[in-house]
């Protein structure tokens, strides 16, 4: 168990080292990639994925998966975008986006925790429904002509060139990380994913915690939708398609176990930055953009496979150690 815990810590480090190597490696080929301008573009672009990855971490820790976040993001972006275009305040739009996230999260959580539908099926169904509702809501049209002040808010820099959205999201991530590490209820999520029956026996209300995880994931996706509308400046009917895959990949990259109980927000944030950095690194390496998807897929497969192999190796080692300890005890008794 200690070895696995060490590995979890190592996984954040390996992710970070991978990120640094990515920047240095690509920077050697094209020095432009290493300058402040390009780094800040990557960080700015990763805000949306970081938000999704934070929410996804809650769900993955409980041993579930949420593939409806892309659809939630699209829905929130469409509704908030329409409201802002029609002159309502950003705060009101943000509240509505969060409410959308809460509603979708509650539906997911109800299905998974109370009705006991497997999480992938429940969220797949909800994804289909949400996407349909979004297209019906927008009538298949783009939402354009968002006010400039709203779009420019995504460009504001403070503290010597740091994007304001990125800073806010980083503070949020740090708070969540603190919550996971210090708060008693923060540990419930991983406890459920690690051993559901055990968690129940020590008095954790598993259903409530599970529903909370899906609601948090929904809220994060809702906020990410507003961020998307602000950064991109328009909302198409395809907004959010395949984004859930990137969010899951980011978490896995950062060392969150898909079987639950293991992982940290720090890791998934680093993973989210890596996923963004790869896309922009490919641009700097002058690789045609049609390569992006297959490279992301290959990377995901390589990481997951090595994750499985490392886990298996460590378990084997632990088993051997247990066996040898037992035989030596027996030997002493003779």
């Amino acid at each position: 168990m200690i070895a696995i815990k060490k590995l979890a810590k190592m996984r954040e480090m390996t992710a970070l080292i991978f990120l640094v190597l990515l920047f240095v490696g690509v920077g050697l080929r094209n020095p432009d990639f290493m300058n402040a301008q390009s780094i800040s573009t990557v960080l700015k672009g990763s805000v949306m994925y970081i938000l999704l990855a934070i929410g996804m971490t809650f769900v993955l820790l409980t041993g579930g998966i949420d593939i409806s976040v892309g659809a939630t993001l699209g829905m929130a972006a469409a509704v908030a975008g329409t409201m802002i275009r029609d002159g309502s305040s950003v705060v009101a739009a943000m509240v509505v986006a969060i409410v959308i996230g809460i509603v979708i999260g509650l539906i997911n959580g109800f299905g998974v925790a109370i009705v006991k539908v497997p999480s992938i099926i429940m969220t797949l169904g909800v994804m289909g429904i949400t996407r349909g509702v979004m297209v019906v809501y927008t009538g298949g049209r783009w939402i354009e002509n968002l006010p400039d002040s709203f779009k420019l808010a995504s460009q504001v820099k403070i503290l010597g060139g740091l994007n304001v959205y990125f800073l806010i999201v980083m503070i949020f991530a740090a708070l969540v990380q603190l919550y996971f590490m210090k708060a008693r209820s923060g540990r419930y999520f991983a406890a459920i994913g690690d051993n559901l029956e055990g968690a129940r026996l020590v008095g954790i209300s598993a259903k409530k915690v599970m529903i909370a995880a899906y609601v948090i994931s929904g809220i994060c996706a809702g906020i990410a939708g507003v961020v998307f509308a602000s950064q991109v400046g328009f909302v198409t009917s395809n907004t959010g398609v395949d984004i859930e895959m990137i969010a899951i990949a980011a978490c896995v990259l950062g060392g969150v176990s898909l079987s639950g109980g293991l992982g940290s927000v720090t890791g998934s944030c680093i993973g989210a930055v890596i996923m963004t950095a790869i896309n922009s690194a490919l641009i700097y390496l002058k690789v045609p953009s049609f390569w992006n998807k297959s490279i992301q897929g290959m990377l995901l497969i390589v990481i997951v496979v090595s994750d499985v192999l490392i886990h298996r190796y460590l378990e084997e080692q632990a088993r051997k150690r247990r066996l040898s300890a037992r035989t030596s005890v027996l030997g002493g008794a003779e």
Binding site: V115, M127, G128, F290, W291
Partner: protein, 334 residues
């Protein structure tokens, strides 16, 4: 409890009732729906879903899932078009190679799941990126316009999608033929029984001499082949080979399998159920369109169908919603 068990055994029967109700309701909304010609030709649209779903039943019975099949549909379509147009292969050689590619894609999924031990959901998430990415790379290199795809296939090939035999459209013949093959394979051979046993208890199956790894690998190869045939069919039917042919198919496929009574946790399922559920989904798509709904509503309908079907199924087990409620009522009556 006795009644519930009976009901569970009559899942296929309730599907027939659902199907008839559906036909009557849509026929009542729009009498044109009841014309035999319209009903027969509706198979053109849903047969691609059915081709994948029939073989996906095998994968889900073993306890796995495969969400990369949408990408395989696109990839086989692109490979076929490319071999025929750019490399000058004969049309039937190209078709054969494309089906082979689909089988290989399935084999790679199966290898990752059975031999490396990656969770099926995660492995196929990665490969779905990879396969879709490869089709984009192929298109990017060959300079085909992604929006138009490859067109201008010979008439002999277009007959796959448009031909008729004894007054029946070719889609119906393909659909029934594949369903019969799948039925015999799953319900009438030792192979089928091994698939079931692997899903019910993999360790027990392994101990009784079944090579469960090979069984899981072979089920993934089957669904890969099915997806490639679906890709060929849709290329012929729409007379164009494109990468995004199967982009949104996976929701319908999984809905068809689960609505057909296959347990998502494995060990239980039937081809007849999947067969009926595919027709239900296909007719719902057609019926909603004929009732004047925009096509986006079908996503909502299918999503609802999926969630409701799985909720009903999982509520009937122990420790779920209905048994919880029952216990509560019993407690109160005491």
């Amino acid at each position: 409890m006795e009644r519930l068990k009976n009901f569970k055994g009559k899942w296929d029967l309730s599907l027939v009732v659902l199907l008839i109700t559906e036909i009557l309701i849509f026929g009542w909304i729009n009498p044109r729906f009841l014309r035999i010609h319209v009903l027969l030709n509706s198979a053109n649209d849903f047969v691609t879903v059915a081709m994948i779903a029939l073989f996906m039943t095998f994968v889900i019975i073993t306890g796995g899932i495969d969400i990369s099949m949408g990408s395989v549909v696109g990839l086989s379509s692109v490979v076929m078009g490319l071999l025929w147009q750019e490399l000058g292969f004969g049309i039937w050689t190209a078709v054969f190679c494309a089906i082979l590619v689909g089988t290989l894609c399935g084999a790679f999924n199966g290898f990752l799941v059975a031999f490396v031990g990656v969770q099926a959901m995660v492995a196929t998430l990665g490969t779905s990126f990879l396969y879709a990415g490869i089709s984009l790379v192929i298109i990017g290199f060959s300079g085909i316009s992604a929006a138009e795809g490859i067109t201008g296939f010979p008439d002999s090939f277009r007959a796959i999608g448009h031909g008729e035999f004894m007054g029946l459209p070719s889609s119906i013949i393909l659909f029934v033929a594949l369903a019969v093959i799948a039925y015999i394979l799953l319900h009438r051979t030792t192979y089928g029984r091994r698939v079931f046993l692997t899903g019910i208890n993999r360790a027990a199956a392994e101990f009784s001499g079944i090579k469960t790894k090979l069984i899981i690998l072979s089920t993934h190869m089957l669904v890969g082949t099915g997806a490639a045939i679906a890709g060929i069919y849709i290329t012929s039917y729409l007379s164009s080979s494109r990468a995004d042919h199967g982009a949104t198919i996976i929701l319908s496929v999984i809905t068809a399998v689960v609505l057909g009574g296959t347990s998502i946790t494995g060990g239980e399922g039937s081809i007849i159920g999947t067969f009926l559920a595919s027709i239900i989904i296909g007719l719902m798509t057609l019926g909603l369109q004929m009732a004047g709904m925009p096509t986006q509503f079908t996503g909502i309908g299918i999503g609802l169908l999926l969630v409701v079907a799985v909720s009903i199924k999982s509520s009937m087990g122990e420790g779920n919603l209905i048994s919880d409620l029952k216990r509560k009522f019993q407690k109160e009556s005491k």
